[in-house]
Subunit: 400 residues, 2 copies
Amino acid sequence: MFLTVMTVAEALIALAPARRSAVLRVAPALGAVPARDVRSDEEIPPHARATVDGYAVRASDTYAASEALPAFLEVTGSVAMGRAPEGEVGPGAAMAIPTGGLLPHGADAVVMVEHTTEPMPGHVELLRRVAPGDGVLHPGEEARPGDVLAPAGRPLRAADLGLLAAAGVTEIAVHARPRVAIVSTGDEVVPAATRALEPGQVRDACAPALAGLVRAAGGEPVLRGIVPDDAAALERVLAEAVGEDDMVVVSAGSSVGARDLTATVAGRLGEVVCHGLAVKPGKPTLLADCGGVPLVGLPGNPRSALVVFRLVGIPLVRTVAGITAPAPAPTVRARLGRDVPSAAGRLDVVQASVRDGVATPLFGSSALLGPMARADGWFCVPEADLGLAADVEVEVALYG
Amino acid sequence: MFLTVMTVAEALIALAPARRSAVLRVAPALGAVPARDVRSDEEIPPHARATVDGYAVRASDTYAASEALPAFLEVTGSVAMGRAPEGEVGPGAAMAIPTGGLLPHGADAVVMVEHTTEPMPGHVELLRRVAPGDGVLHPGEEARPGDVLAPAGRPLRAADLGLLAAAGVTEIAVHARPRVAIVSTGDEVVPAATRALEPGQVRDACAPALAGLVRAAGGEPVLRGIVPDDAAALERVLAEAVGEDDMVVVSAGSSVGARDLTATVAGRLGEVVCHGLAVKPGKPTLLADCGGVPLVGLPGNPRSALVVFRLVGIPLVRTVAGITAPAPAPTVRARLGRDVPSAAGRLDVVQASVRDGVATPLFGSSALLGPMARADGWFCVPEADLGLAADVEVEVALYG
């Protein structure tokens, strides 16, 4: 078999899956991905409203007002919250109005109560002039009909939920959370719930960890169990996954034989676009396109698998989920605590803890999960570098 | 009423709620907060395993090996995945072994297959020497009995789920997602699903947005509906929430009257510790301690409410959830695109979009949600500053 080794960037360009998860109409929810721009049907707010507590006035009545020479107006009424004002504001008149109250006819500005005095009941003195529009939220200032309230492809955030609610939008077209099949393989792999291990057995650590990453990336993990190192059994499970799910992840056994098996079966179900990533740890990674459904064969070591899934799997989950503007990842700049050697032409992913601005690399066999569980995040030694010297600044991507 | 205005830091120290959400025993899940350190019962791995594909050998048989003068060993068998090795490795012998295979008795190292040749069937030549332990994962290298697998108070991440599964831990004590009551108030507020608004009515934008923030912070929003501006009605709803939930958030009406109402009722149900935050927007914020349950009265303007909830509400949700090591927030450093004036003694929270390293402030009435929905994040002008000049570097907290 011809082995194609690619950088992460090359691999993501080569495997640009056509698949997108189904589009549903649902209530807006945090993280949901609009399938189309969501636009306003309405003018929001529909009417002018006060943005301060005070008095609705005609601005022209206040032009000469100052602390030394206040404007003197008659208070002809007050505006109640949530109701249309009774009466209107004529020349020389004012109406008391709370923040959010509807601006009465005739008025074109609101004077803050802090800038007024009440010389006698039924009258108010204005100590400052206001311009038309001061203290007023205008109709359509939040949105006009046709304005985009939430763009397609960007997961909804809290402010979006507020804006959609303000516009009365209670149902939108979103991409479903993509179904991501997780298939564990290996004669040695047994479920995590196995109490006593037979010699040579290991519990399936990858599947629950991958399920967590899938969920955090916006996908819905579909755990398809543990398959022995047998081509027919693997093909049966993967064919079913390709038929029913939006993306397939194979947590391969760690031996050469198990990896070859995944490659052989993936080649039967689709086109292998990459068989090896220029990443350490994580080289034995396989990427295939199965009729638009992306298939990722991960390395056997759990830590390598999680490193590769963050680099390649999460971007694929997002693509399939219709996300075109992913949320930013948290990072922190820190000074490298020691030299980190690397080889040119390969991306090195290094786990690190960060304390007081110093990033301390955590090494150890990639068969160990501990260095990752103890790490605050990870940094990369780029493909072109032969290593990083102590004291250089690195950008540590933080685990969230 | 005596008005106490505090900085955010002062307020969080003053309101240090005693309440913690219930502790349950559940399967480990992403984001779950262990109530106690989770420790290993076992040695992981329980037996020595190969970390490479190759040959299990006695290191002492390889000490003289080199490319020029390979060591010549007899291959006496092979180790199968997931099973105890058959036979052992004697002097001058080797067994083929896959990555993850159990190290046979007698062997103390594994030579990578890349460093071997097969001169004739049943024999192997080693081109490099290995030291004892090379190519081997030792028993207990991942964890020993009693080692902490996941610390209390830090939400579980993907690698934690893997490590717990590897150790066979399928149930742990975690804090339940805290129940966070969200109470909307105001005679003018109607549900988001209201089709046609009467003059003066506004749809409830805050509750869905707050529910999103609560969920993202690890809480479970409990939407307790819209209460009119009536002290008895508000007291009934808040008393029920204080009795049943772990935290209470009141999205207050925007008028002075509505705010006073919240303060009065909060004072009856508990102790008001802060009545005003030195934050813009967000000053009219109320914090109370109701028998250990924190109560947050938010400003009436939706954007002010969301700003304050990020500053004060989210840390409180995390505290009640038992989180002592919150996940890092994503930030980006950017150059400020223009001068931003401020007042000393007040924290100014400014929405901003970030493009090409430049942060552009988005202003507008705090009654508008749009500037927040269009922003990539926000930055602060600290209490001590009179403003920030164009071109200074600011740290923008990004919306996720």
